[in-house]
Amino acid sequence: MLEAAGTPQEIEGRSLWRDARIRLFRNKAAVGSMIILGIITLMAIFAPMLSPFEYDQIDWGYIQEGPNWENGHIFGTDGNGRDLFIRILYGARVSLAVGLLATSVSLVIGVTYGAVAGYFGGKIDTIMMRFVDVLYSLPFMFFVIMLMVVFGRNIFLIFIALGAVEWLTMARIVRGQTLSIRRREFIEAAHATGVSNFKIIFRHVIPNVLGPVIVYMTLTIPQVILTESFLSFLGLGVQEPLTSWGVLISEGAKVIEASTWMLIYPATFLALTLFCFNFIGDGLRDALDPKDR
């Protein structure tokens, strides 16, 4: 059985995560999306270095002028004479930050909550999931407007409001996944060994439900960005002179006949980002669950 124990050094195994990563990097659309998204993110981070203008600097000579390479306003200026290019990059900061932070909040709360509800089942599950149903039934816009009225307009409120809503779906997804694996034999083996429930949830349940969670996460980010844009469009989002893609699109939409560039450029950035996230989500789904193709 044991032929002289072979070579003594240990062989590295190929984890399912590593297999998934290899499959993901074979997906051209996903890789392309990651590159574009990476460029947009880097541009957002290094925004001040990329333009001679400040995002709130008014250039009195060029009010609502179209794109022009000679004066440096490559995407044109808005109605207040501010450079659109730098404003789009600052808008990217807000939109991407909202997307990532709100999604992380929803991830942490949703995964823990869903895994606990699904794992324990029975009455605990019923109570926990009915609570989710109740929160679901709250009208979201009403909730956000109330927050804004009570606490004033604040970017952190948007994070909280979006995170508080997004974790509900995450919790449902994780609960469903947990229900399907909690009767698996490796969970039973852990029980038989005497592993505590807490450790079973974090060591055995959550790593095995992360696949769908990651996929859902990449689809939540664009959803959150869209919602933030929608809130800003309604005037409930970020405060002037700070901006987001939603605000820029809203302003552009008002003057669509006179100056199309004010709508087209921010809308292109938003659409591109959403496309990228969706392609990455698609690629991740194929990579993490090759059977579902």
Partner: protein, 334 residues
Amino acid sequence: MNAIGKKKAVPILSVRDLKVHFTLSGTGLFGKERKLKAVDGINFDLFPGETLGIVGESGCGKSTLGRAILQLIPPTDGQVIWLGRDIVGAPHSAMQPLRRDLQIIFQDPLASLNPRMTIGEIIAEPLVTHKADLGKEEIKARVKRMMARVGLLPQMINRYPHEFSGGQCQRIGIARAMILEPKLIICDEPVSALDVSIQAQIVNLLQELQREFDLSLIFISHDLSIVRHICHRILVLYLGNVMELADRDSIYAAPKHPYTKALISAVPIPDPEIERNKERIVLTGDLPSPTNPPSGCVFRTRCPFAKDVCATDIPTVDTINDHHQVACHFHERM
């Protein structure tokens, strides 16, 4: 390995009148709740170093019985006496130290291993849980020693379960069960999912380990040839009830229960001459629903020898001699 000699010893495990009933919610709004009697009053003793085979067809409560002994499914009634102590309904804190002596091996080798963990982590989990004071190096050394013992190359320690074949996965499952050197392992159809050639290897491995560590095994199976090979005593279950409990030689030579007779006559013999001429008892019909078991003797609906008394009286488990018990009204005539 004389099972009769072992009988004088103190049993390591005694199961007394063990019952596991599941409540099924009724159908429709006013449907009545029904009781599913998966295990309905089972008694047996298990001695140190002994292998007890539990046989029966699908749905007769074999696996439920195994899990009820480990308290993975809470028994409805009865006692499970482990080393002189009843563990039914014991709180989590009291069960925890006992779990290191009670282990289980599962039917589906791959499903019983967490796909996200390396096999080193899987095998080490019982150690990490029960002997937290051991250092990382010591744990790794023990895992490697156990891997070598069950016939796995120790340098495979960082591999993942999907990189192994079914037989190797079952060896990993055995290594996990053995790492704490338990006193009892419940083998829940450990070889049913494997090829015949691999089955023999796994069964032989279990026997070697049993001799080496003086293990007791409860071997759940529906394969009578393997049970005959590995078990010292055999318990025949039907619809959650004991039909017959006897030493291996006694039960194969002279089965006293019509159900056991039918099961044994169904085992193929690798000699076409004998196979063709042997008397075969074919049972008609299917296993009755355990939610609505037959009155009297549960086996009477399929029994070729059933009489009126079988429908009215539940047969008692009669002791024929020291190593043979049977639950049939007419066992003297069999």
